[in-house]
Amino acid sequence: MAEYTTANSLPPGIAERLRGHRVTRSMRRRSRVFTDTTDFTAIDYGDVIVVDERYFLVVAYTKEGRFGVDEQIKPWVPKVEELATGEKKILKLVFHETFDITLGPFTIPCYRHPEKEARVLELVRGHSHFMQGEAALDGAGNLVRILDIINGSRLDKFIHRSGAPLEEYFHHELPAILTQFLECLQAISFLHSHGFRHGDIRRDHILVERGSGLYRWIDFDYDFYLPERPFALDLYELGNILMYLTVRGNFYPRDIAADPALGRRVLDTIGPGDYSLLSKNRIVNLKKLFPFIPMELNNIFLHFSQGTEVFYETVDELHDDLAAALATMDHGDTGGGR
């Protein structure tokens, strides 16, 4: 059972702000004050978390959905308001979790690593392509991360906003998107050069900041165990995002068969080497589906195919190839297949 105190334990100014807050005014119970976040499931809406003599009122919880799965509340990631300043923040409480992820026939040991996220936050302080925040210990020594909120939208939703047909999107919207994505690649290269992995690269882990339009990486607390190829999974996921951005989706045989513009005629041209290296059913030789994709860009995708003879060793290699491909995109290369 988690221990807590009442609001009487708060400094008078903070207690007064708590009493007058819209959240507590609407509550039927009294707020509790937690200095120990070990049992984060005991903490609820309207409670106060104390970290490093700062007082955070829980006003909501973050949610996360795996693609195709309903969003689920993350009780270890409350949205809070700092009572002294009124500033909105996100707290990330310590949640140790070790699990295996499956990629094709392989399993990779993954784990949450609060210390790593704290160190990354320190490393990227002031870097415009990463979320910002700091880490502090609660009363029980748990490393709580106090994160600034990024006001913006998920990149994977942002790219669908215009609703333009794919080819129009490709020619008129994608170059600007890839220009920003290049900076995201440089940001990950920066992490790798300091020995850190992002650990959970996904298309919804880049937020497009409203106003500035900056693309910013979020969520660094996952890590994985690949001793000989420590950055391989980050690289693979960067390739996946790049392909998703290019054609606004992932393509599987059933999608192609069902699409009147593609159908069996195109599906019959797809060979084993055109599929993803690790997601065996996903097509990465996208030029066979969409001939308007320039060869230079498609060649990047093929580095992630079963047919590849060479892999990217570093994010810089991927970055440089994408920069070169982007330079050709204005020319509207519509050349043949592989």
Partner: protein, 151 residues
């Protein structure tokens, strides 16, 4: 170029490693003045290792013990090929903040070994991408050294 008769054999407990040792033993056994360094490199502890209450010392001890067994087996194979124990040294080391292949190359450089012997597993492209191939990494990044890859 370092002296090629200063030979570093990277070993582990796989059949391909034992095959590489037998192959190297047959060649080195005919040489004069060869010096052999058996090297076993192991990765840092996996996630969750410490949460089971074990320490880094426990891990190193466990890996050193495994390394000792691997060396005993390898020394026997080398002796059977006529190589004297006095010409063989052993080293067991954790790959700290480095990959296994980077650590092998660091030892090679430190010890000025002119030859590296390593076994090659047959791995798929996908396996190589995710988990790496030590022999390929050595071939790719090795400098001033002959590399014998035994498949």
């Amino acid at each position: 170029m370092n002296d090629w008769k200063r030979i570093l054999i990277a070993v582990d407990n796989t059949p391909t490693s034992r095959k590489a040792i037998r192959y190297a033993a047959n060649i080195i056994g005919r040489l004069e003045e060869a010096r052999i360094h058996l090297l076993h490199i192991y990765p840092e502890p996996p996630p969750g290792y410490y949460s089971s209450g074990r320490s880094l010392d426990d891990y190193v001890e466990e890996k050193d013990r495994e390394g000792g067994d691997i060396f005993a087996d390898a020394v026997l194979t080398l002796q059977e090929a006529g190589i004297t124990e006095q010409t063989i040294t052993t080293e067991c080391r954790m790959a700290e903040h480095r990959t296994i292949s980077q650590t092998i190359l660091a030892v090679q450089k430190e010890g000025r070994y002119g030859t590296i012997v390593v076994g090659k597993r047959g791995v798929s492209k996908a396996e190589e991408f995710l988990f790496g191939s030590i022999s390929n990494a050595l071939l790719h990044h090795g400098r001033d050294v002959a590399i014998w890859v035994v498949g």
